[in-house]
């Protein structure tokens, strides 16, 4: 869509056109609002399209949303909030069937009903799927609805920052819109709106090896953070044990489920022979397998010092072609390896961020008018560990709720409290070797704690527009260094110190490395002088966002001295319910980050969830 005006106005702006953003836009449209999607990628290019497995929904006789809720709470290691989990599980069936009614090509049973399959951590086979490309179909089906409804889409518009009032207390701030860069024309435009919904997806690019897309740079999370919204439970990052080394493409658990075996460079079936998982071997949980693989590599038994081998040759060509054909294609296309002839190289990769922008179960943040949904948000349903098949329902359930609420439908008062005002406790002795947050005398974008000084909506957006224009001019005009090395050093540090193995010293080293990246970032410039499709500029801004995201992950990881879900600490090998049944919150606090905590809500509609040992 091309438009030369520098200011647009809509009732609701949705930032992002993935599963969460599309569902939010459809909901706002259903509610009668004038809604527009502003997205850096054309919607069908969003990373939701990469999801394979499926959507959890309690649809069938013998299944019950309550069981789904129980499984999710257990999977979260009791760090999910009951109101969010119960909303997810109760609403997922109707939202999933809604997709069917919109024509989504689900896989089918003999009787013509949609198929479901078993997934890890679920007490009932409730993962609804469409072949091995569920996310692709979900994304395209919803984009079709957006076209049908004539929702305005500003595609290839990069949102740079939010326009938020400058009240000292984030709980009192208001969001009036955002500023975007028209990628094709190079113009900066303001979007004024009563509601802004962030649906910008994951941030896997904070690590050097990830199943996430190149565009998953945590922009929304970084923008909300700098606008004063706390980042909730950022330390919880899911790593997948079997990804291809050169690209991070996911090799699904299916291979191990069918009998695929993991070997180290000495030809040992290390999960058994080295005692990592004497019972379950290759089928042990994701984090156990991932840690075992990295231990092998670090002790010198990795293949080419980098990965381990996943061998499925013994299953025989017939069975492989029959059940795992898509895996053969993935290995061939993305790694140049023939899975029938040789083992496939695999290593752990970042996969999913459980933490994110703090919201209540209506999708709203503590900043009035600012919402978040999808992977960038933390409502929190996944707690410390996401179950497979629970992210896609999150997109449609909470995407829709954010859309309805922003468009004015009354969803009832939320039970989850948000913002610094909801704190139960403040962290007072976090041992950081350098100060996190803004640098002394940093560029103002770095401390956009609430953006402009003006209070009238129009002026707030205009002020922010002016500031972003200056930011772009500066980056384009000054001399400086390229961002790419800074990004790659940041990614290396995160992968070295903040991955599946975490220990205090390493986390402190990571904070130092991040600080160093921040300092070097002060000198970045964009070498490409062009206004047309300047991806150099966009990537440079993304790198800034990644620095903020990486820092919140690391601060959270340093604060939480226990082992829960995906977060493993060397010095603290047990889950400490007495001390740690609470959410970590990192608040930008005007460039001087603060760590505080809020209570986990285990009281559900009908019962209170009692923490139990998470064993399968």
């Amino acid at each position: 869509m091309t438009n030369n005006a520098t200011m647009h106005e809509h009732d609701v702006i949705v930032v992002g056109g993935g599963g969460a953003g599309l569902r939010a836009a459809i909901a706002a449209e259903e509610e009668g609002a004038d809604v527009a999607i502003v997205t850096k990628l054309h919607p069908v290019r969003s990373h939701t399209g990469a999801a394979e497995g499926g959507i959890n929904a309690a649809l069938r006789d013998g299944d019950d949303p309550k069981d789904h809720a129980y499984d999710t709470m257990k999977g979260s290691d009791y760090l999910g909030d009951a109101p969010a989990i119960e909303t997810l599980c109760e609403t997922s069936p109707e939202e999933t069937i809604q997709l069917e009614h919109w024509g989504m090509p689900f896989s089918r049973e003999e009787d013509g009903r949609v198929s479901q399959r078993p997934f890890g951590g679920l007490s009932f086979p409730r993962t609804t799927y469409a072949g091995a490309e569920t996310g692709h179909h979900l994304l395209h089906t919803m984009y079709e609805q957006v076209v049908k409804r004539g929702v305005t889409v500003y595609d290839e518009f990069y949102v740079m920052d939010l326009a938020v009032t400058d009240h000292p207390d984030p709980d009192e701030r208001e969001c009036h819109g955002c500023i975007a860069y028209n990628i094709k024309s190079g113009d900066l435009v303001g979007f004024k709106a009563d509601g802004v919904i962030l649906a910008t997806g994951g941030d896997g690019q904070a690590f050097d090896h990830t199943t996430n897309a190149v565009a998953n740079t945590g922009d929304g999370l970084a923008m909300a953070y700098r606008a004063g919204v706390p980042v909730e439970d950022p330390e919880f990052v899911q790593f997948h044990p079997t990804t291809l080394p050169s690209t991070g493409v996911l090799i699904s658990e299916g291979v191990r489920g069918e009998g695929g075996i993991l070997y180290n460079s000495e030809g040992e079936r290390f999960l058994f022979e080295r005692g990592y998982a004497n019972n379950d071997g290759e089928l042990a949980s994701r984090d156990v397998v991932a840690r075992a693989e990295l231990t092998e590599v670090s002790e010198g038994r990795g293949v080419n010092d980098e990965y381990v081998d996943l061998d499925m040759r013994h299953l025989g060509e017939e069975r492989i072609v029959d059940r795992l054909e898509n895996i053969l294609h993935l290995a061939e296309d993305f790694e140049g390896v023939d899975g029938l002839e040789e083992p496939m190289p695999v290593k752990p990769g970042q996969h999913y961020h459980m933490g994110g922008i703090e919201t209540d179960e209506n999708g709203e943040t503590c900043v009035s008018g600012l919402y978040a949904a999808g992977e960038c948000a933390c409502v929190s349903v996944h707690g410390s560990n996401r179950l497979g098949g629970n992210a896609l329902p999150e997109l449609i359930v909470f995407g829709a709720r954010a859309g309805y609420d922003a468009a004015g439908r009354d969803l009832g008062e939320a039970r989850i409290d948000t913002g610094p005002g909801a704190r139960s406790e403040t962290e007072t002795d976090l041992d950081t070797p350098v100060s996190p947050g803004a640098l002394d005398g940093a560029e103002p974008d770095a401390v956009a704690d609430g953006g402009a000084l003006a209070t009238n909506a129009e002026a707030v957006v205009e002020d922010e527009l002016r500031r972003q224009r200056e930011r772009v001019e500066t980056l384009l005009e000054r001399d400086g260094i390229n961002h790419a090395e800074i990004r790659s050093d940041l990614q290396d540090a995160m992968t070295e110190f903040v991955n599946v193995f975490r220990e205090k010293e390493g986390l402190q080293q990571a904070l130092e490395a991040i600080r160093d990246c921040r300092e070097r970032y002060q000198n970045v410039a964009v070498a490409d002088p062009s206004r047309t499709f300047n991806t150099d500029l966009l990537h440079t801004i993304e790198t800034r966002n990644l620095i903020d995201v990486a820092e919140t992950i690391t601060l959270g990881a340093l604060a939480r001295d226990e082992f829960r879900g995906a977060h493993w600490r060397k010095e603290h090998q047990e889950r400490k319910d007495d001390e740690w049944l609470k959410h970590t919150m990192i608040s930008w606090n005007g460039g001087d980050p603060e760590v505080f905590y809020t209570d986990v809500i285990l009281e559900g509609e009908e019962k209170t969830y009692e923490p139990k040992i998470r064993s399968y």
Partner: protein
């Protein structure tokens, strides 16, 4: 100090006030870079040295010949080809090679890409004379044996070039959206009841639903190149996807056939199979177009 984070002694915390003040005064707080000119030059030279060393140390390298064009930059106004030498590693795709060149030699090298796994459809390119996804093309597969000496990378033919390898997709999107590409049956069951669909019918539309909107097919099609109004293979395939879906009622099927039967619809296709050959998702496009022609004939017979 409100923070709970213990700060090392030497840190001074004046930044928020300083910036706030600058902002209040309406001044620009965007300073110059903090390194001086010679430091910046040294840093940039060091980066270049590292890139050169990586190439020297590599066992094998591959030469990319990349199309460059930027209407706004004087040196790039005239289209040209640039060469980049990139270290080769097993498993390297054309997209990996392009990213390496951009990150190590020329940050202005511009191309779309995102998923790196053939699902987002961003990086359909003209590689060694054929439409391919950069991320799904192994560099090694471009040579009969070993690795190719040179790989030629151009933007998709028959589309307007915006810059370097980026083409304008607007026309492609317009064609896709002109076939009413959305499920329309409003007569859906109540509540949690799904519409039934047979496995055979799902199988029938399966391949057609795999399209990732990459535009490779359209770019390869001679007819589309000569006739801007021709719907093109991807849009017709999208229409097929709905026309063949038994969940939509018969009236709708007829309506859909009318759309693809129009002057610039299915009858323009001369079954050259170029689209089918380049489709990275292996969609039998020509077959689908032929199937719609047959359906259209059947429908017309019914009404004559």
């Amino acid at each position: 100090m409100s923070t709970g984070i213990t700060k090392p002694e030497e840190e001074e915390e004046t930044e928020s006030q300083a910036v706030g003040a600058a902002r209040a005064a309406g001044e620009s707080a965007y300073g110059q870079a903090r390194m001086d000119e010679s430091e910046i030059d040294a840093a940039n030279e060091a980066s270049q040295r590292r890139a050169r060393r990586a190439v020297e140390d590599a066992d094998r390298t591959v030469e990319l010949k990349v199309f460059r064009y930027d209407p706004e930059v004087p040196e790039k106004e005239e289209p040209r080809f640039d060469s980049f030498t990139v270290p080769f590693a097993k498993g390297m795709t054309v997209l990996d090679a392009l990213m390496w060149a951009r990150d190590h030699y020329d940050s202005s090298l511009t191309f779309r890409h995102s998923c790196r796994q053939a699902v987002c459809g961003s990086d359909a390119l003209f590689v060694d004379g054929k439409q391919r996804l950069g991320c799904k093309t192994q560099v090694a597969d471009l040579a009969d044996e070993g690795i190719p000496g040179e790989v030629r990378i151009e933007p998709l033919p028959h589309a307007e070039v915006v810059k370097d390898l980026v083409v304008d997709m607007e026309h492609f999107y317009d064609q896709m959206e002109s076939v009413e590409p959305y499920f329309q049956d409003e007569d859906t069951p109540d509540g949690l009841n799904e519409q039934r669909q047979s496995r055979e019918n799902r199988e029938k539309i399966k391949m057609s639903t795999r399209c990732i909107w990459c535009g490779a097919c359209m770019s390869s099609c001679n007819i589309a190149a000569g006739n801007n109004e021709y719907l093109g293979p991807a849009a017709i395939n999208k229409a097929y996807r709905f026309a063949m879906d038994e969940r939509e009622g018969e009236d709708l099927t007829e309506h859909r056939l009318n759309i693809i039967e129009q002057e610039h619809g299915v009858w323009r296709c001369q079954t050259q199979f170029s689209c089918t050959e380049v489709c990275p998702k292996d969609i039998p496009l020509t077959e689908h177009i032929q199937a719609l022609k047959r359906e259209a004939v059947k429908k017309n017979l019914k009404f004559w």
